[in-house]
């Protein structure tokens, strides 16, 4: 009896996790997809819109605010790539010059421990047009340097990008550093013997060797960009106008402010679709890498 009981208990122990997966993830996603085909307002209305089931998606497509928010997300994503570049440069420098590694790592990573709301508020304060860094530049005789980006629709997104890069570089530095440390040390000495210039070594050998690390970083970054909400909320609250709206912000706004569950659901489904598009290469790469590792073992 004891044996049978113990054989069942792993399955029993997995039940809560299974329920969470089925209800909180799979079921909830299905529910939201269903909702996106209805005309629900504040409260769910389970009748699918028979006349125009894609009404909400059409609305999104014709809503400039939403299409613009997709565009803003793209700008944010491309701008945030700087965090990967910056992270790699930092990691390469730290890896080359071992002195002070601990201190530098601690300093570069601390923004990650801080809430995005807090860092957003700090950056918002520094971007303050009258009392912030702008004023400092004017004081030291550089009045042509503008640091009031958040006040103008054209530049507000760059302010958010700056804060995102500040927050995220350390994280990519940590990933890159572990990638760099796994590179065979013989490469370094071989390169030194051959007298290869160090930037050529990086561009022609090290970066191609680390392409998977780079790709992983890029995918993680894009997934993070799709989810970006806190930093936008804290820095600009979407403004000025709607110049820093991103889909995550649009979805929340559609539900809480517009009280339009159908529209919010459709926007959330678009977010999920974007996530899947980004996510698919990651799955393929992991599968491919695994096969390569297995092939090497055989």
């Amino acid at each position: 009896m004891a044996v049978r009981w113990s054989r069942w208990s792993p399955q029993l122990a997995l039940t809560p996790a299974l329920v969470v997966t089925l209800v909180a993830f799979a079921g909830s996603i299905a529910w939201t997809i269903w909702m996106s085909f209805t005309r629900s307002r504040r409260f769910p209305d389970y009748a699918i819109d028979a006349v125009r089931p894609f009404r909400q998606y059409e609305r999104l497509w014709h809503d400039d605010i939403f299409t613009n928010s997709l565009w803003h997300m793209l700008v944010l994503g491309i701008g945030s790539l700087l965090a990967i570049v910056f992270g790699f440069i930092l990691a390469a420098m730290i890896d080359r010059e071992k002195r002070g590694e601990g201190i530098f790592r601690t300093v570069f990573l601390y923004p990650l421990a801080v809430s995005l709301i807090v860092s957003g508020l700090v950056w918002r304060w520094m971007f303050n047009p009258t009392l912030g860094v702008q004023h400092f530049f004017a004081d030291i005789g550089l009045p042509w340097i503008h640091f009031d980006w958040l006040n103008y629709p054209q530049t507000a997104m760059y302010g958010i990008i700056l804060a995102t890069v500040w927050q995220g570089s350390g994280f990519y530095m940590a990933l890159m550093l572990s990638g760099l440390k796994s590179i065979n040390s013989e490469i370094w000495s071989a390169a030194r013997l051959d007298g290869v210039r160090f930037w050529r070594l990086y561009i022609e050998i090290i970066i191609p060797m680390m392409k998977f690390t780079f790709l992983t970083c890029a995918i993680l970054l894009s997934l993070g960009v799709v989810k970006a909400y806190d930093i936008v909320f804290a820095m600009t609250n979407g403004g000025p106008g709607q110049s820093t709206w991103v889909p995550a912000y649009y979805t929340i706004d559609a539900y809480w402010q517009k009280a339009n569950l159908g529209l919010a659901s459709a926007a959330a489904v678009v977010m999920l679709a974007i996530t899947l598009i980004i996510f698919l290469p990651l799955v393929l790469i992991t599968a491919w890498q695994q096969r390569r590792v297995e092939a090497r073992i055989q």
């Binding site: 122990a13 997995l14 997966t21 601690t106 709301i117 807090v118 508020l121």
Partner: protein, 307 residues
Amino acid sequence: MTSIAENALRDTAFDGPVAFPARKKRIKPQQIAILVFLAICALFFCVPLYVIIVTSLKSMDQIRQGDVFALPWNWDFGAWWQAWDKACSGTRCAGVKVGFLNSLEILAPSLVLSIGLSCVTGYALALWKVKWASSFLFVLFMCAFVPFQIIMVPLILITGFLHVYGTVWGIAVVHAALAMPILTLIFRNYYKGIPTEIMSAAMLDSGSFWRVFVEIILPMSGNIMIVVLILQITSIWNDFLVGLTYGGIGTQPMTVILANVVITATGEASYNVDMAAALLTAVPPLVIYFLLGRFFVQGITAGAIKG
């Protein structure tokens, strides 16, 4: 007397690894350039922290002068006290301490639920033969990346159905559900590394799922527990959306109170109080980070991706 001598000996013996043989070469210019570059970057990273600290210690009179980088004229912790005890969030003027206490109240059940759930799941998936384990792991891997917005409204309904919406338990349930995929993967990867000999010996000894877990596996998971604990404490403390969506008026976490204090405040903004409130919100995770940085880094890199 002997103890002093012993201590002295111990000091010399344990004073780090054997000293490196002194380098005879001087530092090359290239190395200096790298160090200078890194130092400049480090300064850039420290600027916001510096600004938040000095601003919170200034008087509003000095802030109106407009030099954001200047040191405070006189170090005044009044703004801190104001932010902690009196700052207004909405109509309630009791400072961010309300949020601090709420966050603590949220933290306890959230940690218990999320770590308990994923620890047991990871153990079952790693060390017991479950037929559908690999496909379940893949599903979990996918779930880890699902954007929160698509499950936000159904989770409101579910927590409402469970009669926990608007309470700390509602927030805890949602935190546990959201963190379950990634934490399970972390625990599973860790338990997968346990030598099979230990497991087979344990199976011979008792063979009971729960006894093996409590008597053998849990005592072995101290390291991963600290990593996960720190990961969860910082992410729950820093969370904004879950607390905003599932918290009632009386259960808003500190980040939400902070946002209310700063963003939705009316009247003339007192930036020193705002920055003090932000700093107070940032202090707990920062303290954890500076004390236990190694575990923090392990947590975020493991949490990032290890499928």
